[in-house]
């Protein structure tokens, strides 16, 4: 590349139309900030989205972009990536788009390990349709469509992704700029489908849904930052940790005979551990960071390898020969 790109190069000329105060702004800013670091020419970057607030994202990126239909972004991105493995393809989706109407496409893109970067903005609410409960809303949530409280048991995006055999599963938070940036970089560096759940505040219909992990006064006691090879320590004073008690995790305070050596050491390649961490919920801390990351051949590379192999073995296809395949006869 002749000149290094900057954040501004990735800002499109379109006016951003999310509600003032929406968590999406912070995510957009962070994505635009990290893009230049990848050293990929803008023209080779494609953002694909479905429908919902988050799915307006591509309009604001000065790259190629495709705002598609509800839930189908992973499928559309799959077709693009298979035929154009040279492109850097991102999918932006939400909890309704990705886990409700498009749940099927998401899990299949993950299991196939298509080399996509999938960002799921989870605000636990339907925002664009003005405030119905979503597949990640908690039981009991009172919304316009659940006046007596939702009786719908929610999905957990992390364990859905793990259950779909994703090869990269991470979580970050809209306002945690550095953590989000680092997580995006890890996701981008992963070959295969990278799944990042981003906890995102909808200040209009579900304000404060993630207060415990975003409120500066208390977040340190509720966020558990995962780091490969490091013990699970958290807390304002970094004096709390997670250890196994039998086959269940528990929170302990360091000291009084409890040392770091007693804590669980994070291992991104351990699927069982990833599931356990993915299932942690209050009063346990909320893990953020990379739950799981392993290498596995990607569908797109394997498919292109088959095409190359077919050409190597059979030669470049000849149309006239193909039409004549099988028994032919001549009529004089």
């Amino acid at each position: 590349m002749a000149t290094a790109l900057t954040r501004k190069d990735f800002v499109s000329d379109q006016e951003v139309r999310w509600c003032p105060g929406c968590g999406d702004y912070a995510i957009l800013a962070q994505v635009q900030k990290v893009m230049p670091e990848f050293g990929i020419p803008r023209e080779n970057v494609v953002f694909i989205s479905g429908i919902g607030c988050s799915s307006r994202f591509p309009y604001y990126m000065n790259t190629y972009g495709f705002h598609t239909i509800h839930g189908r972004a992973p499928a559309i991105a799959t077709g693009l990536k298979i035929t154009r493995p040279d492109l850097d393809v991102w999918v932006v989706t939400g909890d309704g788009d990705g886990l409700s109407i498009g749940g099927n496409h998401l899990i299949h893109a993950l299991r196939r390990n298509i080399d996509l970067n999938i960002l799921l903005f989870n605000n636990q609410i339907y925002g664009l349709t003005k405030g119905q409960y979503s597949p990640t809303s908690e039981v009991g949530k009172v919304t316009k469509s659940s006046p007596m409280g939702s009786v719908d048991f929610p999905f957990n995006p992390i364990t859905i992704a793990l259950g779909a055999n994703a090869t990269f599963v991470a979580r970050s938070i809209d306002v945690e700029q550095k953590h989000l940036g680092d997580t995006l970089k890890r996701a981008h560096g992963h070959r295969g489908a990278s799944f990042v759940e981003i906890l995102q505040n909808c200040n209009i219909f579900n304000d404060g849904a993630f207060n415990d992990v975003t409120d500066k006064a208390i977040k340190a006691d509720h966020q558990l930052a995962l780091e490969h090879g490091k013990p699970l320590i958290f807390g304002k004073n970094r004096d709390k940790g997670v250890k196994m008690n039998g086959n269940r995790p528990e929170v302990v305070t360091l000291g009084n005979g409890v040392t770091e050596a007693d804590l669980i050491v994070h291992d991104e390649t351990n699927l069982g551990l990833a599931f356990m961490l993915g299932n942690l919920q209050a009063p346990m801390p909320t893990p953020v960071g990379v739950f799981y990351a392993i290498g596995r051949p990607t569908y797109d590379a394997a498919t292109n390898a088959q095409l190359a192999e077919a050409r190597a073995k059979q030669g470049e296809g000849n149309l006239a020969d193909l039409l004549k395949r099988g028994d032919t006869w001549t009529v004089n």
Partner: protein, 632 residues
């Protein structure tokens, strides 16, 4: 054995060498219609297809109609499990697989019962006698054994101990009973090959390929095939064999082809011609899956096949591939079309080229998955929300699927639009000889991606075709965003301007309507300057309609045939041509969908000729209907 003098439904030009030919070693026939019928597992489709290949190589004109149950293996010996394959081979040009068989091969009582109604008096029945056990007879719903109770007296019945003879032929091969039993179809094929003087070399070659890795099965099948052939020659049961001379058809190099294979080859040809890779996103569905299978084998042509998680992902992945510059395809049948509708609307709105193939089957809902129908026309026309016009092309014969698939791709990339290709289950599995096209003479398919950033706008249109540029990711300076939201003319930016929305909707409609400029003028078979009646058809009804119209004309009636390939837009001159006829009869396998379109578009008082039985029109049904219309 004596065949009836001529296949029913053909003009009275009998060879005169028919009935009573018992003393002659070779009796001549113009046309013969054979139906092979047996349990789904009896291999009758296979025997039928190989007999078809042999007949094609013998130089006959042919048309076939497979008819199989949706169940893969219904309980053995039941009517539900009967699978059939009908073949019409002739020394003349044939248009259909024949109204009724001259020869019925029934491998068990159920196969006999399921097909007997279609057999004319004096028709030939060949049965496997041993299959008519008491239990099998009962299972088929017969009160008594039809071979002995005289209920078949008006037919010529030939009872052959197929199982016993096959077992004897395979004696010493060491195969178990089940494997031996499965070779019965080759014995039958061999016997019929002798009876109709078919060369069996092509079947031998085919078996050699199929059983390359299992020499013991190859040997067994060859033994059964040859035993059947020799049995025909030596048994005194058949007093003569029959000869159907080669047909006088256009000179050239031919192969036998089914509609689904032709469709796949048409797509490959278009991709090669355009210099772009193919991407097919598809979910398995009857009767479309064969196109996926075919294309999956052409990887060295740069063909990507993606078996998607569902119908929606099939079309959506194709849209993604189209965005990236591939020749994008999805294939399905009716139920899948419903599911794809929203995504097709996105392709219309974003003006991305792709071909959606709907291999129609009998509905509604799951309907009769293996049976043909033409009831998806109005869905293809209107089955999306909002104003979303799409060009529609329909293939008329199995071989025509090649040209139509090719043309669909050509239009899609030229006009930057999704195109719907309609075929049906009859075309998909039916076969006919195909005159191989000269590859160098295929219409050009020019793909030019936008590359110049100066003045580039994603919706800046070609002044003639009104198509927008194909600007694929990876092109420096053309970064842009498209989407389903209403977008501004030229820039494609999101726009809620009322006037702009109407402009864009009308412009897309004009773009599609403009395709009529390159649709050839309507061709009339019959009275070019008009007459008493024109039968208007589309799709797979072609053969039956053409044959019926020919026979009416032979009787001196002023009846003509107009067959449409382009259903949207319709040919520019169609209204004027139809108005030249006193009556217009629209023949289609639905409740009158094209009928509605021509009545609405041209204010012509056309009348319908409709059949919704999951079976093609019979020639005689059409003749009766045409006759009534002429009188009425």
């Amino acid at each position: 054995m004596a065949l009836p003098p001529e296949a029913a439904g053909h003009a009275a030009e009998s060879s005169g060498l028919g009935g009573g030919a018992a003393a002659k070693p070779h009796a001549r026939r113009d046309s013969v219609v054979i139906r092979f019928a047996g349990d789904s597992g009896d291999g009758m489709q296979l025997a039928g297809m190989q007999f078809t290949a042999e007949s094609a190589l013998a130089g006959n004109d042919i048309a076939t109609l497979p008819d199989f149950p949706a169940e893969i293996r219904a309980p053995a010996g039941t009517i539900a499990g009967v699978s059939g394959f009908q073949l019409n081979f002739s020394s003349r040009e044939v248009f259909t697989a024949g109204d009724e068989p001259n020869v019925l091969v029934a491998m068990n009582p159920a196969a006999l019962k399921a097909n007997l109604d279609d057999l004319p008096p004096n028709g030939v029945i060949i049965v496997d006698r041993e299959a008519f056990t008491e239990a099998n007879v009962k299972r088929a719903g017969y009160a008594s054994n039809p071979l002995t109770d005289h209920s078949l007296d008006k037919f010529q019945v030939f009872q052959v101990d197929v199982a016993k003879l096959t077992t004897a032929a395979l004696h010493g091969t060491g195969l178990n009973n089940r494997a031996v039993f499965r070779c019965r179809n080759m014995f039958v094929l061999g016997m019929l090959s002798w009876l109709f003087q078919r060369p069996i070399e092509s079947t031998v070659r085919w078996l050699e390929g199929r059983f390359k890795k299992t020499p013991e099965l190859l040997n067994a099948n060859l033994l059964a095939l040859k035993a059947g052939f020799n049995y025909g020659d030596t048994t005194e049961m058949f007093a003569s064999s029959y000869e159907v001379e080669p047909a006088k058809i256009v000179p050239g190099l031919y192969r036998n082809i089914t509609g689904n294979t032709a469709t796949a080859l048409g797509f490959v040809a278009a991709a090669v011609q355009s210099g772009r890779p193919i991407f097919l996103g598809s979910y398995p569905i009857t009767p479309a899956s064969d196109v996926l299978h075919e294309l999956a084998a052409f990887k060295n042509f740069g063909v990507y096949t993606f078996q998607a998680e569902d119908e929606i992902a099939g079309v959506s992945s194709a849209i993604g591939a189209a965005f990236g510059g591939a020749i994008a395809l999805t294939t399905t049948s009716g139920p899948g079309m419903n599911l794809k509708a929203e995504a097709i609307g996105l392709a219309v709105k974003t003006e991305l080229p792709m071909v959606i193939t709907d291999i129609q089957r009998a509905g509604p809902s799951t309907g009769m998955p293996t049976k043909p129908e033409q009831a998806d026309l109005l869905m293809a026309m209107y089955g999306r929300h909002g104003e979303s016009p799409i060009p529609i092309i329909a293939a008329a014969t199995p071989a025509d699927c090649f040209e139509c698939a090719y043309e669909a791709v050509r239009l899609a990339v030229k006009y930057m639009t999704p195109v719907i290709l309609l075929t049906d289950g009859q075309l998909a599995n039916g076969a006919e000889p195909w005159l191989l096209p000269d590859v160098s003479k295929l219409a050009p398919i020019k793909v030019e991606f936008a590359s110049n950033p100066d003045g580039f706008l994603p919706y800046k249109r070609d002044p003639e075709t009104l198509s927008r540029p194909w600007a694929v990711p990876g092109t420096p300076g053309l970064e842009h965003r498209i989407g389903g939201l209403s977008s501004e003319d030229q820039t494609g930016n999101v726009s809620y301007s009322p006037a702009n929305n109407e402009l864009m909707v009308r412009t897309r409609a004009r773009k599609i309507a403009g395709i009529a400029r390159e649709i050839p003028p309507t061709s009339i078979f019959g009275d070019a300057n008009g007459g008493d009646l024109a039968v208007l058809g589309w799709g797979s009804t072609y053969g039956a309609v053409r044959e019926a119209v020919k026979q009416m004309r032979d009787r001196g009636k002023s009846v003509s045939h107009i067959h449409l390939r382009y259903l949207n837009p319709l040919p520019a001159d169609l209204g004027d041509q139809l108005r030249k006829f006193k009556k217009v009869l629209v023949a289609e396998m639905n409740m009158g969908q094209l009928l509605k379109m021509v009545r609405a578009d041209y204010l012509i008082d056309a009348i319908g000729c409709n059949k919704i039985q999951g079976r093609p029109f019979k020639v005689n049904e059409l003749i009766n209907r045409i006759s009534r219309s002429l009188e009425g």
